[in-house]
Symmetry: C2
Subunit: 128 residues, 2 copies
Amino acid sequence: MRYERKIPIPIECGLHLTKEVLGGKWKMSLINAIHAGIKRPARIEQAFPTLTKRVLSRQLKELEAHGIISKEIFPQLPPKVEYSLTPLGASLLPIIDMMDNWGNENRSFLEKVIEETRLMVEIGNHAH
Amino acid sequence: MRYERKIPIPIECGLHLTKEVLGGKWKMSLINAIHAGIKRPARIEQAFPTLTKRVLSRQLKELEAHGIISKEIFPQLPPKVEYSLTPLGASLLPIIDMMDNWGNENRSFLEKVIEETRLMVEIGNHAH
DNA sequence: ACCTATAGGGACAATTTTATCCCTATATCC
DNA sequence: GGATATAGGGATAAAATTGTCCCTATAGGT
């Protein structure tokens, strides 16, 4: 989330627009999950053990605000909510599929180089 | 860059592997530029006015370490370097094209909702 | 002697994104 | 009465990513 962003997003390019929509840590996974029928927040939470409720809630809210998913609220208690993909959201599925496939096809190589890169770069910068 | 990453990347999923490779702010743009023949750092810098040398250098280094681009050093002074896509890097082009197209096709809608989302969320969080 | 172009990185500040902790509200079940 | 499931968000801490500033080195031009 942001507070009066200081550094503008370079939106001249379609890439950055798409990145703004898909770039959140869990967004592509969420789109996949909703498309696969996991539509209620509590179910999504179970599906991704390391994704916490708070973060889930924010990513869903942004996806909704960006017109990628829509939210149906059932007037019940305890609350029931279901998300689904909008047509715009569904139009992202081919991209997400390609990315998932590319990652899986190159998994062994990528796991190796990602790990090596981490080691390499650890030296170059420091937390503070 | 990182210093002994504290929170591991969820690499069970191909999506997150791909995201680790393409997720940097300028990486997709750099792959595009290199593919388009803009191969020298100084040229790339000119092509992206808001991308500074330091950041460029880091993103290129990571792309190289991830096996996406390769670096040719010409033994000259002043230094001359050219980057090009590896076959692995070239295999990302279809994904990048799709993302660029999707963003451009939906540009007017996206610019609107991205702006609205920003306003919406400004209230919800604060810098510190 | 000085300036320019060139590629790269150290040190650190600023910004942005995620994570953690805890609280609200209510019908149903034990 | 008390626990449970449910969806969501405030406040704040932590982590990760980018940005800024400045320094190295050297051939060639003026």
